[in-house]
Symmetry: C2
Subunit: 363 residues, 2 copies
C-alpha cells in the first residue's frame, strides 16, 4: 500500500495548497498518488468535466464561450535530495516556501488547481491540464502523450504554461536544432603526413564562419527573439601519430519561432555547404501570440514588459497545434532543480490575483 | 626450467640463422633465452670482447683501428600471433621466410651475428650491440639503459641500426614533438549563448594556420628531410546545450634533425602565440652523417640513393651521443608487426654481402 496522503483542499490558500502538494512526492514516473488526489478533489466541482489519461488530468468548462484558454502545468519533479517535506524560510525580508517542486512547478499547479475549483463562470472557456513526465525524456512527456491521444483537448485560442517565470509573462520560445558537421580525409602515419589528408584541418572554415556569424534578433508577435549559433562539441583523432581521417563538430542553432525547424536546417545547410550535415535533434519554437487583443488584456493585468523565452519549453507543443502560448508562473527559474529550490510566497499570490482578474473580467 | 633451444651456429647461412633465432620466442620482456644463446655462441670467438647488461649483449673488437663503427639490433619482438615457428613461402617468384620477428628484426640480427663471428680483422673496429625491450616503452628500451649504464660503449664514428629498410640505407631520422594547444572561454546555456564565450570557436585561426602551413624540406648531411605539421586530435564540449569553456587541439610536428626539439618547440610557440601550449612528448632527430668519406664508401657499396628516415627510431640514441647513424637492414618495414610478417631471403643475403664488403675493405 502506498502512503496515504490527506485529501487536497482546493479552497485553501494557494500557499497552503502548494505546501500540501509538494509534500506528496511525485518524481517523474511516480506521479500516481498526486494525480489520484487531484482527480478526487476535482470531483466536488460539477462545473468541470474531468478526463484522465495515465497520470495526466484534464478539467474543462463547457460554457459555450467565444474563446477558450488552455492552462497547463506538470505535476512531476526532479529527484528529491533531502528537500522534502517543505518548510518556510525568510531571505532578505521576503518569505519563501522551500523544498523540491516549490518553484518547478507545484506553486504554479496549486494556483491553477485553486482557480479551476473557484472559477465556475470564467469569461473564457478553460481547459486545465496537469501532466506527468515533464522532467524526463521527450518520449515520455505526458503533455506529448495527451496531444497524440486526445488532440481535440488542445483546441484553444491561447495557452498559458505555469513554468516558473518570476510571475512575469515569458512569451513563446525559440526553436532549437542540433546537428553534426563532418569532414573526412585519409589516414596516414604522421611522420609522412603528406601521404594522408588531414580531416581536422578542414574544420577551420566552419569555425571561422561560426565566430563571424551575426545572429539576428527577430520580432515575433511583438516580442524580440534573439537567435544564437554555437559549436557545443568537437571531436576527432585516431592516435598521436596518425593523420586523422574524420572530424565532427557538434553545433546548436537556436532560432526565432518565426522560422520552422525545417527552415533552420536549410539555413545551416546553406551556411556549411562543404560539410556533411546530420541533424541529431530538432524542436520548433513557439509563437507567443501576444498580439491578439484578448491576450493584450492579460499582459495589461500582469503589468511590465513581457519577455521572450529563450529556452525550449512545453509551450512549443501548443504552438505546434496552432495555439500561441506563454509561460507564466511563480518562482525563479534559476532555483528550478536547485537543492535550495524555493518559491516566493508573494509571487504565488500575485500570479493567482492576475489570473483571477483576467479570467473573471475584473480588470 | 625454460624450454631448451639448440645452440646457435654462427657459421651457418644467415637465412638458417634467422630461422633459428626466430624460433626462439623473445617477446619484449622475455628475451633471456635468446640473450643466453647469443652469449654462449660468441664465447667461441676470441677476437670479441663480450659485455652483458641485463639482456643486452655487446661484442667488440679492440684492434686499434682509426675508426670505430657501432652496429646494433634489437632481439625482442611484438607478441607472437600464431606465426611462430617460421616457414618458407614464395610470393611473386620471390622466396620469403615467414613468421614473427623475421622482418622486425631478427634477419638483421642474424646477419650481424654471422659477421661478428666471421670478421676477426675488419678495417674498422666494431661494436656489435643486441638489445632488449625495443618494442615497448621508451623507459625500458635496452639501448637506452645501456647508454645510461655504459655510455663509453657508444664511442664510435658512425652507427648502423639493422631495422628493416628493404636492404637500403635510410639515414638519420626526423625529430618529433607533440603538444596540446588550448583555448578557454566561459560556459553558458546555449539558449543564451551571448552570455558565454565559446572556446571552440577560438580554434579557427589555429586550424587555418595548420592548413596553410608550408612545411620545409631541409638538407642535412646530404639527405633531404621533409618536415610536417599536423593536428592529430581535437576535443571539446560539455553538453549539447552548453557553451564550451575549453577546447584542446593535439598537434604533432616532425622536424628535420638539423633542429633540436627545443628549437622546434620555440618555433611552435611563435606560430601559435595566442594559445596555451603544453608539450606532451619530445624526441630529437638524428643526423645521418653520410657526408663523412668513410660513410660514402658504405653508400657506394650498397648502391642506390640513400633515403631519409621519417619515423623516429633508435638511431636517435646514437645521434644524441654525437654518433651519426643510419638504418640498414633486410625486410620491408610495412611488414613489421603484421600477422603475415616475412623477410625476403635475397635481402638477407644482399645485406650480408654489402656489410661484409665494406667492413673488409673488399669493395
Amino acid at each position: 500500500m502506498p502512503a496515504a496522503f490527506p485529501a487536497l483542499d482546493l479552497s485553501a490558500d494557494a500557499v497552503a495548497l502548494t505546501q500540501a502538494i509538494c509534500d506528496v512526492p511525485s518524481e517523474s514516473g511516480d506521479e500516481r498518488a498526486l494525480a489520484d488526489l487531484i482527480v478526487d478533489a476535482l470531483a466536488a466541482y460539477p462545473h468541470l468535466e474531468v478526463i484522465r489519461d495515465g497520470d495526466c488530468v484534464v478539467a474543462r468548462t463547457n460554457l459555450g464561450r467565444a474563446q477558450r484558454v488552455a492552462i497547463a502545468g506538470h505535476i512531476d519533479t526532479v529527484p528529491i535530495n533531502d528537500n522534502v517535506p517543505t518548510r518556510f524560510e525568510d531571505h532578505d525580508g521576503e518569505r519563501y516556501l522551500w523544498g523540491r517542486g516549490t518553484a518547478d512547478m507545484k506553486a504554479g499547479v496549486a494556483v491553477q488547481l485553486k482557480l479551476a475549483a473557484e472559477l465556475a463562470e470564467p469569461v473564457y472557456d478553460l481547459t486545465w491540464m496537469w501532466y506527468d513526465h515533464e522532467e524526463t525524456s521527450q518520449e515520455l512527456n505526458g503533455l506529448g502523450r495527451l496531444a497524440r491521444n486526445r488532440p481535440d483537448l488542445f483546441e484553444a485560442d491561447f495557452a498559458i504554461l505555469g513554468e516558473p517565470s518570476n510571475a512575469r509573462i515569458e512569451g513563446g520560445c525559440n526553436g532549437t536544432i542540433r546537428f553534426e558537421l563532418r569532414a573526412y580525409g585519409v589516414r596516414a602515419h604522421s611522420a609522412r603526413g603528406w601521404v594522408g589528408d588531414n580531416a581536422i584541418h578542414k574544420l577551420g572554415p566552419a569555425l571561422a564562419r561560426l565566430a563571424a556569424f551575426e545572429a539576428e534578433t527577430i520580432d515575433v508577435d511583438g516580442l524580440a527573439y534573439r537567435e544564437c549559433l554555437n559549436a557545443v562539441g568537437v571531436s576527432g583523432g585516431v592516435a598521436g601519430n596518425v593523420i586523422p581521417d574524420e572530424v565532427m563538430l557538434h553545433v546548436n542553432y537556436r532560432f526565432a519561432p518565426s522560422r520552422t525547424s525545417g527552415e533552420a536546417i536549410e539555413r545551416m545547410r546553406a551556411l556549411f555547404p562543404e560539410y556533411e550535415l546530420t541533424v541529431v535533434d530538432r524542436s520548433d519554437g513557439a509563437r507567443p501570440g501576444l498580439d491578439a487583443p484578448f491576450a493584450q488584456e492579460f499582459v495589461a493585468i500582469v503589468g511590465g514588459d513581457p519577455a521572450p523565452k529563450y529556452g525550449w519549453t512545453d509551450v512549443a507543443r501548443f504552438s505546434a497545434l496552432g495555439v500561441p502560448a506563454v509561460n507564466f508562473g511563480p518562482g525563479d527559474p534559476l532555483k528550478a532543480h536547485a537543492d535550495d529550490e524555493r518559491v516566493s510566497v508573494d509571487q504565488i499570490h500575485s500570479t493567482e490575483r492576475a489570473l483571477r482578474a483576467w479570467l473573471t473580467g475584473a480588470a
